[in-house]
Symmetry: C2
Subunit: 200 residues, 2 copies
C-alpha cells in the first residue's frame, strides 16, 4: 500500500474543500490516487465538496481582533473563492469567529499538517523520557498517542470553538469551517494567523 | 579604534531611548565604551535620554489596522515603560500612526539593525553585478551606497511618516518615535509588526 503523505492530503483538501479526515480516508481507499479520491468523496454524497473541486480560494479577508485593551492582538487571513462571498455577513462572521478563537485558544499552527517534523521530534523525545519506565513494547504507542493529543491542542482547526457551551455541543474550528463552506457554497480556508501578546 | 557593532548601538538605544545616529556617534566618540557613551549623550543636553537610561519598555499596546475592507491587515506592538502611559491618548495615537504607516509603507524590518547579514549580502551581490562595468576602485563605495539607501527604504524607523505633506516637513518614523518619547517622558520602542496582504 502506498504512503499517504501530508502533502497529498493538503492537495486534496485544497481541491475539494473537504475535511482532513475525509480526505485522508479517501486517499487511503484510492491507494494514493488523488483523482480517484476526488471521485470517492463525490460518491460519498459530498456533493458540495465535488462542486468545489479544483477551485482556488484566493479571495477573502484579513481580520483583526484586539483583546484586553491592547494587551493581545490577533491577525488572521481567511480565504474564499470570490469577492462576492468575501463581502457577505456570513463570511465576515466566520472570519471574526476565527480571530476571536485564535485570541482565546492561542494555537501554534493552522492544521496538524502544518506542524514541522522538527517540532514533532522534540515533543516525541519529551514523551519518550516521560515513558522511559514503561514496558518497551508499549512505549511507542504511548509516545505517539501523547503526540497526537498534543498536536490537536495546538492546531487551530482541531481546537474547540469557544462559543459552544458544553463539550457535547462543542464543534471544532474545522467543523465550523466546513459549515461556513457548505452554507456559502465555496471552498473556505484559514490561511494564516499572527498573535502578539504584549511583552512576550 | 574599536569597532562599533550593531549590537552595541542597540544596547545604547535601549538604555537611553536616544536616536540611532546619536547613539552611534556617542559610541564612536567613547571608543565603544557604553557607559561613557551614556555620559556623552547626557552632556550633549540629551537630558531626557539620560533620564530614561536603563529603564525597560515592557508595557504598551498591540494595535491593528485593516485596510481596503479587509484586503490588507497590520498588527504592531509598541512599548513604553508604564501602563499609565500606555493608556494615554498620546501613546495610543502614536501606536495608531505606526500601524497606519506600516500599512502604507510596508516595511520589512523595524530598524536597519534588524536586517540579517544574509539579506544584506544578497543585496550586495545584486548591486555588485549592476556595477560590474564601473572602475574597481569605485565599486565598493557604489555597492555600499546603494545598500545603505535600500536599507533605509525597508526599515520602518527610517521610512517617512505618510501624513507629513511635503518632503521638507517630512519626519521619519524614528523622529516621530523620539517626539512621542520626549512628550511622554518614557522610553518608547516599536517592537514588531506583521503585515497580511490578501492572497500573498
Amino acid at each position: 500500500m502506498s504512503e499517504i503523505t501530508a502533502g497529498m492530503v493538503k492537495e486534496l483538501r485544497e481541491k475539494t474543500g473537504a475535511g482532513m479526515m475525509d480526505c485522508k480516508k479517501a486517499l487511503q481507499e484510492s491507494g494514493g490516487d488523488v483523482e480517484e479520491a476526488i471521485t470517492l468523496l463525490r460518491k460519498q454524497g459530498l456533493a458540495a465538496a465535488a462542486k468545489r473541486a479544483g477551485r482556488a480560494a484566493n479571495e477573502g479577508a484579513v481580520e483583526s481582533y484586539i483583546h484586553q485593551g491592547g494587551k493581545l492582538g490577533v491577525l488572521v487571513e481567511v480565504n474564499c473563492e470570490t469577492d462576492f462571498v468575501a463581502r457577505t455577513d456570513r463570511f465576515k462572521q466566520f472570519a471574526r469567529d476565527v480571530a476571536l478563537n485564535v485570541a482565546a485558544m492561542k494555537p501554534l499552527y493552522v492544521s496538524v499538517d502544518d506542524v514541522p517534523e522538527e517540532y514533532k521530534d522534540k515533543e516525541r523525545s519529551i514523551y519518550a523520557e516521560q515513558a522511559k519506565d514503561r514496558p518497551e513494547a508499549a512505549r511507542e504507542k504511548i509516545v505517539e498517542g501523547k503526540l497526537a493529543k498534543h498536536l490537536k491542542e495546538i492546531a487551530l482547526l482541531e481546537q474547540p470553538f469557544f462559543r459552544d457551551a458544553t463539550e457535547k455541543t462543542q464543534r471544532t474550528m474545522e467543523q465550523l469551517r466546513a459549515e461556513a463552506s457548505a452554507e456559502l457554497g465555496e471552498n473556505i480556508t484559514i490561511r494564516r494567523f499572527a498573535i502578539f501578546q504584549l511583552g512576550q
